[in-house]
């Protein structure tokens, strides 16, 4: 059946999710060790969405992301060492240290420039879709953005044109603050719509809501959407709803529930404390591990083996990034023009 997840693809999605999770945990560690100082945003809690979307894409499809970009970039296969080096502002980073965490991007993995201005990637991805449509090879572009992007006018202007001109763009709205709206929590999405999908629907754009922590559900919705886009139909909007990771609630990210313990996927007794509900019910990595074990796609040992492999890659990446030299000060004024 179209949209059904094969065993291979399921394992691939799971491994992407583990890469995303362990990468972000490494970022926190590097920050706590004072290897970099800027504000940063983590993708923890949203891995099922990004990994499932990326699994559907082909190498020539384009992705655009936001300030919360690490998961998308490393999930799509970007070199982990270069990604960490960029976050540390080192010369071996993807952008030579000019972009940092906010603008992490990797052209060779199918990303365009990463804008940290809320809503701007919606327009950029729509423009990219126009270029892909002109090129006529059936490729699509995907805009990953948060719910707050729908508070920005440029998102509407762009979606309106995508609808008018049938551009092959998938709007992947990662709503990580459902039900928020209180002041001062730094997580509130302040949108008057009863459902976020009412907004694209008002422009005649086909829209779906999915559980963003359910990799299978996201995968199914995206397979269908991308197939439509490749056939030349109008843009599609998917709202993937996730429960905010408690570590993203403070102004600066913290590993509040602790680093991920994969054995919690099967050992219920280990889940305790204030954030037990999030870990038990909303952590997409543990949820998918649990599902895959139940479906006999993976065993506990396989899960731990994947995790170990990823952790080893992370250590190598960390060593590479820390060893990478800082850029030469005078290079600050280079590279303004092509």
């Amino acid at each position: 059946m179209k949209g059904e997840l094969s065993r291979d693809k399921a394992v691939s999605i799971f491994e992407r999710m583990v890469v995303m999770r362990r990468f972000e945990e490494m970022v926190v560690r590097l920050f706590e060790e004072k290897h970099f100082f800027s504000h940063y945003h983590l993708y923890i809690g949203q891995e099922a969405t990004g990994a499932a979307v990326i699994e559907v894409l082909g190498p020539a499809d384009l992705t655009l992301t936001t300030h919360r970009n690490h998961g998308h970039v490393v999930g799509r296969g970007a070199d982990l060492g270069k990604a960490l080096a960029e976050i540390l502002g080192r010369s071996d980073g993807f952008c030579g240290g000019r972009g940092g965490t906010l603008h992490l991007t990797d052209r060779s993995s199918g990303f365009l420039s990463t804008s940290a201005v809320v809503g701007n990637c919606v327009g950029l991805a729509t423009g990219a879709a126009y270029a892909l449509k002109q090129a006529g090879k059936g490729n699509v572009s995907v805009a990953f953005f948060g719910d707050a992007a729908l508070e920005e006018g440029v998102a509407f202007e762009s979606m309106n044109m995508a609808a008018l001109w049938s551009l092959p763009v998938l709007y992947l709205c990662e709503n990580n603050s459902p039900g928020a709206g209180g002041w001062g929590s730094f997580t509130s999405s302040v949108i008057a719509a009863k459902k976020l999908t009412d907004i694209p629907e008002s422009l005649g754009i086909l829209s779906r809501q999915v559980d963003g922590t359910d990799a299978k559900a996201v995968y199914g919705a995206v397979v269908e959407a991308v197939a439509r886009l490749r056939e030349g139909h109008s843009p599609v909007f998917i709202e993937a709803i996730t429960e905010r990771w408690p570590g993203s609630v403070p102004l600066w990210p913290e590993l509040i529930p602790g680093a991920t313990d994969m054995t919690m996927a099967w050992d219920e007794t280990k889940i305790t404390g204030e954030h037990a509900d999030w870990i038990r019910n909303h952590d997409p990595v543990l949820r998918f591990a649990r599902d895959l074990i139940a479906d006999t796609v993976l065993t506990q040992a396989k899960v731990l083996a994947i995790d170990k492999r990823v952790n080893d890659r992370m250590e190598t990446a960390r060593t590479f990034a820390i060893a990478s030299p800082l850029p030469k000060p005078e290079s600050a004024i280079e590279g303004v023009f092509a």
Binding site: N120, L124, A131, N160, L164, F337
Partner: protein, 323 residues
């Protein structure tokens, strides 16, 4: 060479650009604004209908699409129409297009052209009369083109479309009917190469866009009195041909800078600062700027006339630097 007006030359350059490169798309249909000459665009609309998008009034959106399309392999020519409307698209032009190449460590180029009509147009009042080139000059990463003649507009539009950088192509609608000799066929005028529009040994006048033509008028009038003005047209302010300006000032020792931006932090101010910094020894008199006073543009004709840089104002400034 063939004689044609500025609007024809602009359309000709855009036509060749679209004809010679299928990646070039036009976002916007008018290009010539509300000018009576806008029928000239029919030629382009007929030939390239599949590469012309007629957008809604969504400046932020079309600028953003232009940047995204450019990064993904297209070469969009985005018509912002009246230059004041670039303020609606400001985040996309100054914070996306200008930054993407440098910020990504050179991973991306953004070959987009933003085309706009600047300046005092007669009754445009405060919201349709801006000359945003100096504000844009404050955004490193944008190339800024100010063509002042039919020959220049055609050659520069070719370079703009071929450039791998985001380019702001700023045109004065009052130039549309200006006639001049234009080479036939395809040619390019490189960016960063000033044009000495008139040679003279007494005073250098650096001017841009429409004001170049006014400076030439002033120079012709002064020539009757034996004062020979050299008119230097940088043609692009980013990149700027500093050498040509400094060479001319070294020869004349006197400088007037004239353009349509506001006086403070305007194009004239920056050029004056460069000359003061690098050619102070050559100067025999203080540099004078002829620009718009720092007020919003008024509607009423006598008020708009009062703030318009004119040949008379340039003439007066030239006399003053001559002492």
């Amino acid at each position: 060479m063939t004689e044609m007006n500025y609007a024809e030359a602009l359309v000709d350059g855009l036509y060749i650009s679209m004809d010679s490169d299928p990646r070039v798309s036009l976002i916007g249909r008018h290009v010539l604004g509300l000018s009576p000459l806008r029928y000239l665009m029919e030629r382009i609309r007929d030939a390239f209908a599949d590469r012309i998008l007629n957008p809604p009034v969504s400046e932020a959106g079309i600028a953003s699409l232009g940047v995204g399309a450019a990064m993904a392999g297209a070469r969009p020519f985005v018509d912002i129409a009246t230059a004041s409307f670039v303020f609606e698209a400001w985040p996309q032009v100054v914070n996306e297009a200008a930054n993407a190449h440098h910020m990504s460590g050179g991973q991306f180029t953004v070959p987009v052209v933003f085309h706009m009509l600047h300046g005092l147009r007669g009754g445009g009042s405060a919201q349709h009369s801006h000359s945003p080139q100096a504000m844009l000059w404050n955004c490193p990463g944008l190339e800024i083109v100010l063509p002042s003649s039919p020959r220049d507009v055609k050659g520069l539009i070719r370079t703009a479309v071929k450039s791998d950088n985001p380019t702001v192509f700023i045109v004065h609608s009052k130039l549309f009917t200006l006639k001049g000799d234009v080479p036939e066929g395809d040619y390019e005028i490189p960016f960063g190469q000033a044009d000495i529009k008139r040679e003279g040994g007494d005073v250098t006048v650096v001017a841009t866009s429409l004001v170049v033509q006014k400076a030439l008028e002033a120079a012709n009038a002064l020539s009757q009195e034996g004062i020979e003005v050299e008119v230097v047209d940088p043609r692009t302010i980013v990149p700027l041909d500093k050498e040509a300006i400094l060479r001319s000032v070294a020869k004349t020792g006197r400088l007037v800078v004239a353009d349509e931006c506001n006086l403070s932090c305007g194009v004239a101010s920056e050029i004056a600062a460069i000359v003061a910094e690098y050619a102070f020894e050559s100067l025999k008199a203080p540099i004078l700027r002829v620009a718009r006073p720092d007020v919003p543009v008024s509607f009423s004709a006598p008020l708009e006339d009062y703030i318009t840089p004119t040949p008379e104002k340039i003439t007066a400034a030239v006399r003053k630097v001559l002492g």
